[in-house]
Symmetry: D2
């Protein structure tokens, strides 16, 4: 329980500091027989890469992944898959001015309190850079979900007070704008908003939404390991998240039971359907066969160029101006991170589903 | 990974169906040397008990707890603490009319899909009655937190659209109204709202807020086991929750970095303080020494007397009217459940804190 | 990690002191759809019960089991199965004379050191009585193994220096002698040996052997969770065990590679066979389809009537004579305990097997 | 539960195939503030390295370790420590002749059965080469034990039928002979025995013994996580082990209670001592303050040059002659592996000890 291991049967273990030699992940529990290449992973890593537009940091992070084990001739072997991402130029900068000061909104103070001291180089382990390892693991998880025809769509729902309009929802536009918004008009407004924030030496937050399609009904667990609870944990383990919702979310608190309950019906092909999906695809912690819908809120980037007041380790009140190239908003680069965490959690649950019914176990063993 | 075990070092395992012989919990990992009596637990269980006001179900749930192990002469021995709560009159009712029909908003359909069939008696394992075991474990967790002067205050923040006004916040009033609201005026409005909902054969939702005081800075983990992520999981594992927030929550998504960052300062006694607490007491997944603040949204009770449309297992569209005595709102009885889940999670983290620093380990072993 | 929880997917959590109100176990992870009654469990518990012959303690332990959850109409529901065994007359004796003295060969001293004090009544949690909960869980595990046609035969291989002769191996005789020996002649010798030890106010040890048949090839894990390693842990978690072997065991250390290697061949029906089974059915931590064979050594019962020297807690050297009715040998009653631990471990691995191959996962999900 | 992750609070995750790009380990749960350099690790890795004498394989395994994270300026930071060992010349050989044949005594058949196919290059994940990652993690574990003055001595107790004589026990000689034997005379006999085995194209087994000194009393857990049970699991997770003993081991089965019980006494300085140590330093699963003594048996190397009979995957009986440079005995190179596994397990328990007593927790948190 030191924080960098996750999952029970599809289990990942990550490592790496922002400015150390490398980042990476070991995935223990990927079944044998699945096609996997470093190109598959690279494609997802590139979605997280900075510098792809004027709205993200212009820092260079190559993020080239190397597969060290667990794959033979492009197919998983069932043994641990180790993925390595070398950091580039990790010693290029002098961070000693940060050693004695606590940046507001950052984990500088809390790391010092927990460990007695901290790695000051670019935030060390608390840097958003650690999410590269999550994305790499996410690709592998999605490969497993693919085998069962489960797919995930993730996008930006809002930036600051700019929210998408579902009447204009355009799935194909998500990859065609720097904010992963499915609404061209909202995307344009967001561009203006971010441009202004940058000029003001300030930063913005936003909300990411994720929709999982094709999940069979019956996946999840009762009580502590409800599927929504575990999705909450995995998504809220991403730095800078402040909230999580499934289905109706906080809106549910203001609804009446007669409105909130999703009524069941058989459609004309005799398929089981619901008239609404306030549940967000999960009832009693278990998938109900409809889309799983979740949202998470990101705070504005804490690193801002504006002068702030803070304290030194040594006992002085102080002023701080954070230099360097920072994302004016975390959300666009976090879209693939949210998707990865959802995929990692679901891959684990796909397995656990099998155990709840002796008929599925028998079927798995049948010849 | 079957869902009813939680925690790593302070680990709990619960069991029990709504209408089976008993509910209960085993707590493995409570240190030796802490005072604990069944009266301590009973006090918390009574807060969850129905029938204490006209606004909760009039069902009788005695919920008398028996300590079966792990306590000797009123002191914990370090071995597993087993707590048993017998169900009363569990066979008093005929549930066979529910066998073939799926109640909207309930887990009937998903349990059938997961397990092949389900225990129809009062919801079986998916019943809110399983939370009694959580509350019993929560008392033990709070005993550990007491030893380190950590305390928890939990209350209802809103019912439907009635929200408390922090200018009228009265801590002492929480236990003096049936809704655990800290605002007399809001409590009165809530009473009217619920009375109306009952008359309409409908139900309401709400938001519960929880404030943890006295938590030392440095408690939590980086990456996957961030303290906020684990609190999200434990709170959202309570049935009927739809969302979770820490600190500024979803509001953070609309704020600017310069407003959201909590600026550090030394107060006149040279204590480290923050001007605001948007972080909700957690930075980088680790406690920062200020209050930990979290909120969770509950959906309206799915069991309503109003007629609803749904389906039968056998392939027919159908109508359903749910009889029996149901809570028109879950929130008031859930306050102690949220508090218990927070306590259980924090107790586990109090332990893990010790491992991150060799000096704390050395100190623990010193003579 | 407080010691009383075991398993990953078939997970058990036990509780109970020798002289507290009750013992029991929660099993989380038994699939739905398996027949289970309290009579099934009682049958195994009765094999562990003392007082069935002149060679075990004449203490009365009723050990009546009650199923509190997880079973409906004689079929498992997939939710936690809780099993309760009340202790009888737990306050019948005065143990205060043991409070200040450390019995040789017992855990009195180490419990005091670990917890600061201990439950002196009959050994508390360190009593062999806790194995009743293991046996109850073992019945459930064996029900799962039954579904896959895996069966377990467990028997006494030696008592003191009396060893069974495999030329006289008679499976049917195991349940017809008080020592569970499969050899009538050895059983008779053992009776004489134990009678003498009792007269000498002394005690004996022995070796239990276990043979698992029908295990499909391919069950187990590489590296840390090798099937033999996990069997070692589960069997050696039984009190009073001092050693564990699989297949050739310690004898392997004296053999040559050309003798030890089990040579493969196809039999006349084209089945894959091995000429020998020094591997004990496990290669590289994974089952090879032949019988899994393991052995464990039990030390002589530490409670003996003979006077011994020891110390008091208070700093004095002292003499001690242990009164009461004690087993002159633990082995016969431990046979069912060993079998239970093996079954619990295998049930967990039967699940994990499915994850290693995407084809098995696909098959489980197929319609 | 895929086999390559171990531990609860000091948790390690390993990866790597014999002939893949690299091997390595992530250690999550090493406290901050401990000195650690790659030289520390290299020293242990070199003990495992082949080619150091005529009695081990002449294969070249450079085994140069690189620290990728978790260490800053030679001190652990509390975040995951990732250690990387590149394989050299991993594609130097053609293994295609092994694709269709099952080597006796190897995991070829069982890997095929578990995963559907296997990595044939040098045994893939089932190769003894994976133990390099264990040794690297072991160094870190020993650094933690050092802080609490716990030390470990590991040596070869027997090779074939050559056993050390404790009357000639010479600790300083362990590192001065190629077999890590503490007895010059036995070492010489062993050399002759191995020379003969090599000439006969055969191999030998042996027994390794390990003595842990300085372990405080009270470390361990009751029931399933007894310290001896967990040591059994960790040691028997090393490939080629067939048995495990603690203290008196299998000999205990032939002893009488009055002989086996270790009698307590106060020595002249009023320290608590035992006249004997049949317990092997563990009573009731918890350390008693005396030396922890354990042994494990290794089978003879399965790779022998002698011709053997076996089968092909395709259904034919066949003959096989294993070429290449193989260790005629695994034991000498396994000494450091056993030590590492013991250290890794003990490091985890050192932590867990703190949780069992509220006084230790309070002390850790005290200022």
């Amino acid at each position: 329980m030191a924080g960098s291991v996750m999952g029970k049967n599809f289990q990942i273990s990550t490592f790496g500091e922002s400015h150390g030699p490398a980042l990476g992940v070991i995935i223990d529990g990927c079944p044998a027989g699945i096609g996997l290449t470093s190109e598959d992973i690279q494609k997802d890593l590139d979605k997280r890469k900075p510098g792809t537009s004027q709205f993200t940091t212009s820092r260079k992070e190559g993020d080239k992944v190397e597969i060290l084990s667990g794959v033979l001739d492009g197919v998983t072997t069932g043994t641990p898959i180790s993925l390595l991402i070398r950091n580039k130029d990790q010693r290029s900068k002098d961070y000693s001015n940060l050693e004695n000061i606590y940046r507001p909104g950052h984990a500088d103070f809390t790391y010092d309190k927990k460990y007695g001291f901290r790695d000051i180089r670019g935030g060390g382990r608390s840097s958003g850079r650690e999410t590269a390892a999550r994305v790499a693991a996410g690709t592998v998880a999605k490969k497993i979900l693919d085998e069962l025809d489960v797919s995930i769509l993730t996008y930006t729902r809002s930036i600051g007070d700019v929210e998408i309009d579902y009447d204009r929802f355009d799935k194909s536009f998500i990859n065609e704008n720097p904010f992963s918004m499915p609404d061209p008009k909202a995307s344009k407004k967001a561009a203006n908003l971010i441009t202004k924030a940058k000029k003001d030496q300030d930063s913005l937050g936003g909300v990411i939404e994720c929709v999982v399609s094709g999940m069979p009904a019956g996946v999840g667990e009762p009580v502590f390991e409800r599927l929504d609870a575990m999705l909450a944990a995995s998504v809220m383990s991403i730095g800078a998240t402040k909230g999580f919702e499934v289905g109706s979310g906080f809106q549910a608190a203001k609804m009446k039971g007669s409105d909130h309950n999703d009524n069941w019906y058989y459609d004309e092909d005799n398929n089981i359907k619901k008239h609404t999906n306030h549940a967000g695809g999960i009832l009693g912690g278990i998938s109900d066969g409809s889309d799983i819908i979740l949202r998470t809120a990101f705070k504005p980037t804490p690193s801002i160029a504006k002068e702030q007041t803070t304290i030194t380790k040594g006992g002085q009140n102080a002023e701080i101006t954070i230099e360097g190239r920072h994302d004016p908003i975390i959300v666009p680069r976090a879209v693939i991170v949210v998707e990865s965490m959802v995929a990692i959690t679901l891959a684990d649950y796909i397995y656990s589903r099998i155990f709840s019914d002796i008929n599925m176990i028998r079927k798995a063993y049948s010849k």
